[in-house]
Amino acid sequence: MADREITYTEAAREALTDAMERDPTIFVLGEGIGARGGNFNTTLGLYERFGPRRLRDTPICERGFVGLCTGAAMTGTRPVVDFMFIDFILDSVGELTNQIAKIQYMTGGRLKMPVLLRGCVGIGGGAATHHSGSYYPLFVNVPGFRVVVPTTPYDAKGLLATALRCDDPVLFLEHKSLLNVKGMVPEQDYQIPFGQASVCREGTDVSVVAIGPLVPKCLAVAEHLAGEGISMEVIDPRTLAPLDLDTILTSLRKTGKLLVADESFGPCGVGAEIAAQVMEQGFDDLAAPVRRLNGVHTPTPYSPPLEAAVVPSNEQVAAAVRNLVAE
């Protein structure tokens, strides 16, 4: 079977289709994911193939259907909740954190919790403040979740395939600016384990851990800065929980400098967590403090110039890298 170039959305949909063919207990719930095929085409064509009980359109009641999926996962099926915009998950935070995250623990593993919770995150297209969040710290801080943040079509398919076989609750978070990105993807089924970062570009002067849309931005900046004699190593963690710290530490041993670039907020964010872990376990390899580049800590505004102003730009990434190299 050959690799071919498809979009991130198509790649993820392949993983979902393959899994639904193989496993009749998988079903999808969400608003508009039935005959319509999903606002982001996440389930395009699946309703015709698998029918209305496995592609179930819901009323607008996120707490209700997330709670429903909790009970379903406890009784032998594998629910997929497709939130469309991940912001809508907030209406179900109680079910998520007090129930889904805790049931395996309270039952000593006698009950599994194979719930997949997917949705589009992030800023872009004027979606504004109710449709632009990421919420990573919530999912990473609560014990019990796997948090998956693929940035390429290849990773999206392989990680979703793993998520659909995983007996733990998984947050599968797809940045809306990456959905139409194209990349080479094998036709066959394959899985990428959680907790394995990808070194997207090797370098020797500075390690940059990039999340989501900052991955392509950092790669573009790396290409540009190579012309200035700066060699950037770009690491895509691919999963935030579990986090592959070893790959980051190995990189740091080489470069001595670490920048975490993330569109989402700084306070208590993923960058703060990585910085703390690196300080604890890689202190002797640090030639400078760990630096973070985050989006502005504000609700997301609507107007295009305002929206652009709250997201780290390529220029800001380049400046942060240059400053770190100079430290």
């Binding site: 909790t70 009970g71 406890m74 623990y105 593993g109 733990d168």
Partner: protein, 326 residues
Amino acid sequence: MDKSTALSLYTTMVRIRRCEEQLARSYAAGTITGACHTYVGEEAIATGVCAHLRHDDAVFSTHRGHGHALAKGVPTRELVAELFGRATGCSGGRGGSMHLFSPEVGMMGTSGIVGPCILQATGAGYSFQLKQTDQVGVAFFGDGAVSNGAFHEGINLATIWDLPVLFICENNMYATEVAFKDSARNTDVAERAATYGLHAEAVDGNDVAAVYAAAEGAVARARSGGGPSLLECRTYRTRPHAEGMRDGGYRSQEEIDSWKARDPITAFSKAIIDAGTVTAADLQAVDDAIVAEVADAVAFATDSPWPDPATVADHIFAGSATGGVA
């Protein structure tokens, strides 16, 4: 009602009553930490409903769940050991009273949060419908859950999708100390549920035969693809909301006494003796056996080991850290 059924119902109610009285004593003695919400006075509901359930039916309960656990088949030893915090408890000491789990008998959790059980029972119904089995999901909740969004969302989802679910509202008129009449203009839960398109009926929750009959119909409806039902079982708890809390102040002694006079166990004993279904000696034999069973459970729990602190971080996840494979 035949003798076998009558004795079975009587046994379950007495088991719950004696166990709850023991747990109340243990709580007062300091053997139980955390919360302990007893089910005294409400035994007919768990008993009458669970009599129609199999181990592969799924019960989801609330903070006042010891009666549901026992009626569903959690061994008395495992309930007491759990509240004593021992490793032999049904949740391995990890849950306590409000997080009782025994999936082996379809006891899918009591809960410290009001509302989720309604949604989870609906989800169990979803699984059973998808897998095309005749299993049912059951949610037990109180009047306090009726004003919560989970009630609205859960019964709506079950109804639009014809899911095999029983919603059992144990209306004891108070949510902690807040009277239901102060939380809702319409306190007729069955009437409210019916407006969703759901089959709903009000039942005397202190009459185990009435609960048994209503539940029989509701379970049969669900198993045969007839969809969900709600039973509003009107009852009363004659002990405080939780052990260690005050009993009065928000309700009168006259009210409490009037419901004690409608004790479900006393009423049922009299009914089945008067009908000639059983003899007083039959019931005494059950009473004696239950007293011994509860004493055995306390001894078992007292002698059981504590959970090992080295295991405190186990079972957060099912698979390995790398995600596992199906």
